[in-house]
Amino acid sequence: MGQPTLITGETRHTVAELEELAFELRSKLLHLCGTYEGAVHIGGDLSVADILTVLYQYGMNVDPTDIANPARDRFVLSKGHAAVCMYIAMAMRGFFSYEGIVDTYGQLDSAYGMHPCKVQLPGVECSTGSLGHGLPIAVGMALSARGRGDTHRVFCVLGDGETGEGSVWEAAMAARSNELGNIVAFVDRNRQLMTSFAEERVAFEPYPDKWAAFGWNVVMVDGHDMGQLVAAVDALPASDSKRPTVIICETIKGKGVDFMEKNLAWHAGRLGAADLEKAMTALKSTRKKATV
């Protein structure tokens, strides 16, 4: 069995290319949201889109043609309600066909549901959905890697809202106690819960200090600045180091669609055909440069 294909060297994407890929991911998300009959967690999908792009297109050593390769990096989507964003990011990396997702999402017997299920959708590493569950599982995967002397990393993406769950902090302590420098957590810090702005309900601040106090290596980035995300990935400590890393990504819920941004009404929702056009127009206006 060979090593999984890390996108490296000449094949590795530039920041500009990653920005284009993130635009494509958002476009596909909006298309799905505009055609699917039910509600999509579009706000949190749009806030995490750049993070998932940098992970699947730049940071993670994965191989869509060899999903069980033991040397692959593991990925746990702790904010499982962003499943559709992960499915599409994975499709763009070659795991699935985007058409297969759009054509069946949320339908009876589809493998593509609101929250990811590894049993129904091989390629997904972990079944999630209930918040606060992903990081403990990631700790288990990281311990397993250490036990075998493997050097791959375990990446886990959390929403900031779900870090209100106590189990996240149990896992934060366990990761540090077991010196798991092979864990990298990304917090999609969009500062919104489902029904409120986060800080109105929960005193998360001083947020980075909380992670630092738990012994983690804390990195702060603008979660929509591809250059900063790439730099954070490039600067990750070696996987055999002893301190787990959290990359706190300052994000905007609904990012890229002006009428959704920081709007509590767009935690989850459905776009009709008219709103889809409006959303696409808004998204296109955010592009930094025209594509060919």
Binding site: K118, V119, G129, H133, P136, I137, A145, A171, M173
Partner: protein, 321 residues
């Protein structure tokens, strides 16, 4: 290492767990042992395989979450702790992170029932109802200390999750002579043959049911005792066979809520199969917070001790068809 023991003597189930896990750790290099600060039993494994032993401290949720992550990666994790906390504090992790992906995580623990005199925070009285409700979960409750080792050994080949319930596990009666019984997960054990009535039971009160049957034998009654140590999947064929062979006279005795545990599992079989019963009595914990006291005192106080078992069995034997 084989256990040496004598039938009828007292043996610590916990020591059997410790010895068995250390033995299995040698044959299974993917066996991990995890605990939320209940590690005294596990010293042998910890000393032999420190790299596969994780004590998370007081944190049941992450303990089960870590077990899930280990199992996703091809390992066999055994989580050992106190059941009132594992079965409830970590219930959602067991359900969503272990049962949903059907991972081979074993949950093994003590303090099932009104045992240990810790008060109601420390008695797991509803755990079997909770565990039996979970898809993919196999649920066992074990009285004979040596059986714990056998069940653990068998569980190494199981693809999905397993729950193993013990009482205090410090001193338990060896109920079965070696080789006398075919111990298989999913099959009830005929602990005592008889034709006048059947007592179905599990866990720590199997010994009490056998004692009741012996006392009734003095009165000339021939009572069957079934150690239904696997509650899920229930051995429905054995329930039907007992209905047929013991006049449809059933007593269920368990150190668990009287509604939701084995009595309910047996009643489901009776209803689903349309079995004809002459009498059905369930002895177990009523819906009260049980208070303090020694194990036997609490069983007597709450109506499922030895005297109550004998009385109930007499009643079902006397019932008119």
């Amino acid at each position: 290492m084989a256990e040496t023991f004598t039938f009828g003597e007292m043996l610590s189930a916990r020591s059997v767990i410790g010895t068995t896990l250390a033995e299995l750790g040698e044959t299974h290099d993917n066996l991990w042992v995890l605990t939320p600060d209940i590690g005294a039993t596990l010293v042998e494994f910890r000393d032999k395989y420190p790299e596969r032993f994780v004590d998370v401290g007081l944190a049941e949720q992450v303990c089960v979450g870590i077990a899930s992550g280990l199992a996703y990666d091809g390992n066999i994790p055994v989580v050992s702790g106190m059941l009132p906390f594992l079965s409830m504090r970590a219930l959602e992790q067991i359900r969503s992170d272990v049962c949903y992906p059907n991972l081979p995580v074993k949950i093994i623990g003590t303090h099932g029932g009104l045992v240990g005199n810790g008060g109601s925070t420390h008695y797991a009285v509803e755990d079997l109802a909770l565990m039996c409700a979970l898809t993919n979960m196999t649920v066992t409750s074990i009285g004979d200390p040596l059986m714990v080792g056998e069940v653990l050994r068998q569980s190494m080949a199981m693809p999905g999750p397993l729950y193993i319930r013990l009482a205090v596990g410090k001193s338990d009666k060896v109920l079965y002579e070696p080789g006398q019984h075919d111990i298989r997960i999913g099959k009830g054990i005929v602990a005592r043959q008889g034709t006048d009535a059947t007592i179905f039971t599990h866990g720590t009160v199997v010994a009490q049911a056998l004692e009741a049957a012996e006392e009734l034998a003095v009165e000339g009654f021939n009572v069957r005792v079934i150690d239904m140590f696997t509650l899920k999947p229930i051995d429905a064929d054995l329930v039907a066979q007992c209905a047929e062979e013991t006049g449809g006279r059933f007593v269920i005795v368990e150190d668990h809520l009287a509604y939701g545990g084995l009595a309910s599992r047996v009643a489901d079989v009776v209803a689903d199969r349309g079995l004809h019963l002459t009498a059905f009595e369930r002895l177990g914990i009523p819906q009260v917070f049980a208070g303090f006291g020694e194990d036997e005192q609490l069983r007597d106080k709450h109506g499922y001790g030895l005297a109550a078992t004998i009385a109930a069995t007499r009643r079902v034997i006397a019932a008119k068809p």
